[in-house]
């Protein structure tokens, strides 16, 4: 699946998007997998309360299922307007 990062999450991880091979059942499981990869992921995902997630471009929460998901995005709280 495609994993996208925006704003400071993108800067901390160092890339805007990547393909991830995963069998994670939920967003939280995917985060746990990513955190074990490298220090920069551990840093970016250290405080989930500071992060928001979208699955297939719909805002959701960390308990959300990844069944059939094609795109997961992580970003800080939005500042539109």
């Amino acid at each position: 699946m495609d994993v996208l990062y925006f704003a400071w999450v993108r800067e901390r991880i160092g890339i805007p998007r990547e393909k991830v091979e995963t069998s994670a059942a939920t967003v939280a499981d995917l985060v746990a997998e990513l955190r074990t990869r490298e220090e920069r992921y551990e840093v970016a995902f250290s405080d989930l309360s500071a992060l928001r997630v979208a699955v297939d471009q719909e805002l959701t929460d960390f308990d959300a299922s990844l069944d059939g998901a094609r795109e997961v995005a992580f970003f800080p709280p939005m500042t539109g307007g």
Binding site: L4, F6, A7, W8, A54, Q57, E58, L59, A73, F75, P76, P77, M78, T79, G80, G81
Partner: protein, 147 residues
């Protein structure tokens, strides 16, 4: 329902006139425009707005749709810019039309409250001493409770 996400500036007067001209039998048009604020002290060099292409348009359509279901509206316009902006540049605008002004005003406020914290935009402020992401305010999230 007109939703535009663009990097280029927009002409507030022309957009407002075009929106108002397209209405039929509406007693009220309300517009709101968001403008880049300068920073106290050393000042703002520029603001960079990042967004999530694809999701941004969907989120804005959803917010406009919710407003249309809740209030008696003729139409809704949302224009939001991304990319590099300077102090006093116009970031975005919303326009609503209705047969009654209360509907147009309330819907415009609703659109703004939801745009602030549910549309995937992120602002970064650049000054002479560095750059910082604008943090979301608790008050912006709390503003959604009244709806």
């Amino acid at each position: 329902m007109i939703i535009r996400v663009q990097s280029e500036p927009f002409d507030l007067g022309a957009e407002t006139n075009a929106f108002a001209d397209a209405q039929n039998g509406m007693g009220a048009v309300v517009t709101f425009t968001g403008i880049v604020r300068d920073l106290p002290g050393e000042g703002l060099d520029r603001m960079e707005i990042e967004h999530y292409p694809g999701m941004t348009e969907k989120a804005l359509e959803k917010i406009a749709q919710q407003a249309s279901e809740r209030w008696d509206l003729g139409d809704v316009l949302i224009i939001h810019r991304y990319g590099n902006l300077k102090a006093d540049d116009r970031i975005m605008m919303v326009a609503t039309s209705s047969r009654h002004r209360v509907h147009a005003f309330e819907a415009a406020e609703f659109l703004m409250d939801y745009l602030k914290s549910r549309a995937p935009f992120w602002k970064k402020e650049f000054t002479a001493s560095g750059a910082e992401w604008v943090a979301a305010k608790d008050a912006d999230e709390a503003a959604l409770d009244r709806w």
